[in-house]
Symmetry: C2
Subunit: 329 residues, 2 copies
């Protein structure tokens, strides 16, 4: 069955766990404020606007699959990962000088980089307060490792800015660390709340592969869609000099002469060269090729799901794999 | 007995716990690297250059006072607070656009703000990995609260930039959160490693007051010493539009007419106006007044120490109270 993006948006996809997500939302709302009005207003806007809530849904869904009885623990853990994710988003927006996040002014654009750096730090610290005290060491360590990996992946990406040394292998290593490991942890810790967790490796692998698909689509979208489609500035990676899969694949498939042209378009970054690059990426079917790689990861996810017992949560996860590869935002 | 700054530097002050601090250093060195050469080099430089190590010394000293037997726990906890502190320093330098830290190029000046934000995040996450798994909930919570307070204090300080609303009470609230609570936590958690900790409130209060003295001196030094004295740029607070105690006290003691002059010097920030303000602060004995407030906090610290059993660690803490108020850097 081929799903189309229009078949479902996330709200309808998550409708059966909506009351759970609302409980998570209320825990988040109780825990993110620093009691400085204009900052709290901006943080609330960020959380409100971040309606994807994929990471906290992964925690909830995998806890359901593992038949976790203690929903209080699940909700707190889901709130923790969502606050962590928002902390990372704020710092991402500082790093990328992003003016908008999903059509709404970004925290750094609204409050300045100084406050945004601190607000991110504050949310990091708050996320740890939300983490239940009696959470297992393995869950705690899994989360901490995921945060480390996330920042290390971002650092890796910033550490290489030339097309020659940034090959596919390095790219996959980078996005695994910066995106996939955290999604993997969300799935893993959700089911790990069960007294006898049975899905350690399936959950981790599912999250890892979903994260890979998610990030590749993000990187392709950055060259394909416009602000008016997504509410997110496009060309962010290009203008930041970040090398992502489309460029790497185009490079790999190019002749020496053509590579010179790519380097020129990449090194002299302006709107005109960006548009030229977008056209090259599209005409050469590079974007399609990249999307196919993401589709394969999503397919792998569905293979993994077959090993899980049939249930409503598993159905949602399956649909989520289609959403991730079809999403524009 | 009046101690003079020249009586001791920190190296000689901490000489009797030097082997402990070296062990802590080695734990830090094992845990801060992200395996990206140029970033690791910069992080190592930061840690090496941060020779004060007051916070980790507080953990060690209070664990000794409480006769904590498990030195391994102490060292790991001390390493954790020092890594946390360095994470905060990096973000501070991003926020203050500081070019130097103690005479050495700052991490953001060396690697750029993007990498510095992430390197700070990475160290935050790493500090949590160093935290021993079997650490008590009360110690863990104390640390997490301290980090929250630190960022909240910084946010508070940035949230008000006009002299009229920034009174002494608000200032003390701010520096308590941003500096004193963390030092307080260091003292508290050091003695809390003891099976039956007896000094919960003395240790917390000592750290809090030491932190207040420490921050006030920092804020006075910013108007008094030059880069050549301290290896730290002066006027940082002024040029960032940060309101600190010297300005608040000067304001409080001034006539309406004089206040207009202060506002002018503060709102039109340039080197000439900074020098004028420094002269005003000195001639009016405002800096002296502020130093006296710090001295009173240090005196309070020594009163608290009287309640602790006599030992070598207590002697060091006493000398530290003098160091903190006499330090130029």
């Amino acid at each position: 069955m081929i799903h189309n993006f229009k078949d479902f948006d996330l709200d309808s996809l998550f409708s059966s766990i909506n009351s759970d997500l609302l409980t998570v939302d209320s825990i988040i709302a109780e825990n993110i404020f620093c009691e400085i009005d204009f900052i709290d207003k901006s943080l609330l806007g960020l959380i409100d606007n971040n309606r994807k809530r994929i990471r906290c849904a992964l925690v909830v869904l995998f806890s359901k699959i593992a038949c976790v009885a203690n929903t209080d623990l699940t909700f707190k853990l889901a709130a923790c990962v969502e606050i962590l994710h928002n902390a990372a988003l704020i710092h991402d927006d500082v790093i990328d000088s992003a003016k908008f996040r999903r059509g709404i002014i970004s925290v750094p654009a609204e409050l300045g980089n100084q406050i945004a750096v601190l607000a991110g730090d504050y949310l990091f610290a708050r996320s740890l307060s939300v983490l239940p005290e009696n959470i297992s060491v393995i869950i705690r360590n899994s989360l901490i490792s995921a945060v480390q990996d996330m920042t290390k992946g971002e650092l890796l990406q910033l550490s290489r800015k030339d097309l020659v040394s940034f090959d596919e292998e390095f790219y996959y290593q980078t996005i695994s660390l910066k995106t996939a490991k955290f999604m993997s942890a969300c799935c893993f810790i959700g089911q790990k709340l069960a007294v006898n967790s049975k899905y350690d490796s399936i959950s981790s692998e599912f999250g890892e592969k979903l994260g890979m698909a998610f990030q590749i689509v993000d990187d392709v979208n950055d060259y394909e869609f416009e602000f008016s489609d997504t509410g997110k500035m496009n060309g962010v990676d290009y203008f930041e000099g970040k090398i992502t899969l489309p460029l790497i694949v185009l490079w790999k498939n190019s002749t020496l002469d053509f590579r010179k042209k790519i380097i020129k378009l990449f090194n002299k970054r302006n709107k005109k060269n960006f548009n030229k690059l977008c056209k090259l990426l599209k005409d050469s079917e590079t974007l399609l090729q990249c999307r196919n790689i993401a589709l394969q990861y999503a397919e792998d996810c569905r293979e993994l799901l077959k090993k899980l017992p049939d249930c409503a949560s598993k159905d949602i996860l399956e649909k989520l794999t289609y959403f991730v590869t079809n999403r524009k935002y």
